[in-house]
């Protein structure tokens, strides 16, 4: 949903980091995007290409790793994927806040991040 503004922030952060290290060229940028964010990888790629044009990032490789949504159960200690509503009418599995193991209410602990994990630069 906000790929344009978020990718702008990503590109600005990378360029700032590159400037501080006097890099000549950015070779590769690795992102981790949580599945619970509203960021679509395809659109991030599109904006990345547009925004890096005529910068030292132009032509750099963009690697996007998606991190799963993770919940933790305060009752039984389960940590992992959501429990989903398995209803064919909904076509896509709908996540719920019930623990897949004991049905208690879980807390969301992962999958909401948008990390710049690694940058490869030519100095």
């Amino acid at each position: 949903m906000h790929e344009g503004s978020i990718t702008t922030q990503i590109v600005e952060s990378v360029l700032k980091e590159a400037k501080g290290r006097k890099a000549k060229k950015i070779v590769e940028v690795q992102l981790v995007i949580g599945k619970l964010t509203f960021l679509n990888s395809e659109q991030v790629r599109f904006w990345y290409e547009v925004l890096t044009k005529d910068t030292i990032m132009q032509g750099s490789k963009l690697i996007i790793e998606e991190s799963e949504g993770i919940v933790r159960c305060p009752k039984c200690g389960y940590e992992g994927d959501f429990k989903y509503i398995d209803d064919p009418a909904l076509h896509v599995p709908t996540p719920t806040l019930n623990c897949p193991k004991c049905n208690a209410v879980v807390d969301i602990v992962g999958g909401k991040d948008c990390l710049i994990k690694n940058i490869k630069m030519l100095v």
Binding site: I10, S13, F38, T94, P95, V105, L115, N118, I119, K120
Partner: protein, 226 residues
């Protein structure tokens, strides 16, 4: 903030790796946390009101203000792309309202809310309603620092509003189902909508209302612990 884990000095012309671990969404979450601390320090309870366009966010706030203003000193932030129409509606109930015009953005963010604090004397209020821009998607990504989040839907939006937008309901403390007087005309089951919320977020309290007459609004107050 950027956290550099490993730095390897490179020779001229060498490619080297920078492990950055910088989270670009974290900035908003951090400001939200600052807002939360700031509100607590001033003894102000803040409630987010989120929902689609026309669901009844403003009407709900108007009714809540009328019922609560003898017990609380209330103010409201009203987010909209343009206009102060809704802000004026709420201010007719004799509470301070600050309109936050986002211009083109589809949601409020923690920074805009922090900016709006400057227009408000927080020591002269104890309850703040923050009405978000009409949208069931983007506000879920941007916490503002409130104590509780309310999502309001109405039966006129059809029977599938909850299952189509699961993420915002996961964040909700209270879900209001509005315009129940129109349910049979719309052929929408309030009970089914309620069950959909409970399936996705069993800890959310679900309250049916008719915000034109005020029916059910006392239950919203109770659900919010006000």
């Amino acid at each position: 903030m950027a956290r550099v884990k490993d730095v390897v000095k490179a020779e001229e012309g060498e490619v080297f790796d920078v492990e950055l671990e910088k989270d670009v969404l974290k900035a908003n979450r951090e400001i939200a946390q600052e807002n939360r601390t700031f509100l607590q320090k001033h003894g102000v309870r803040a409630i987010d009101i989120m929902g689609a366009i026309g669901a009844g966010k403003t009407s709900l706030i108007e009714k809540l203000v009328d019922k609560l203003k003898s017990r609380y000193r209330i103010a409201a932030f009203k987010g909209d792309l343009t206009t102060t129409i809704d802000a004026e509606k709420i201010s007719r109930h004799n509470v301070q309202v600050i309109a936050i015009n986002t211009g083109k953005e589809c949601h409020l963010d923690a920074n805009l809310v922090r900016k709006a604090f400057q227009k408000l004397s927080l020591d002269s209020i104890d309850l703040l309603f923050i009405e978000n821009v009409g949208n069931l998607i983007c506000p879920a990504e941007f916490p503002l620092g409130s104590e509780k989040r309310v999502v309001i839907i109405s039966v006129t939006e059809g029977p599938y509003m909850v299952v189509k937008h699961p993420f915002i309901f996961m964040d909700a403390d209270v879900v209001v189902i509005n315009k129940i007087d129109l349910a049979s005309a719309m052929d929408v089951s309030v009970e089914n909508l309620k069950a959909d919320v409970k399936r996705i977020n069993p800890k959310a309290k679900v309250v049916p209302t008719n915000c034109r007459t005020g029916e059910g609004v006392d239950n919203v107050i109770e659900a919010l612990g006000l």
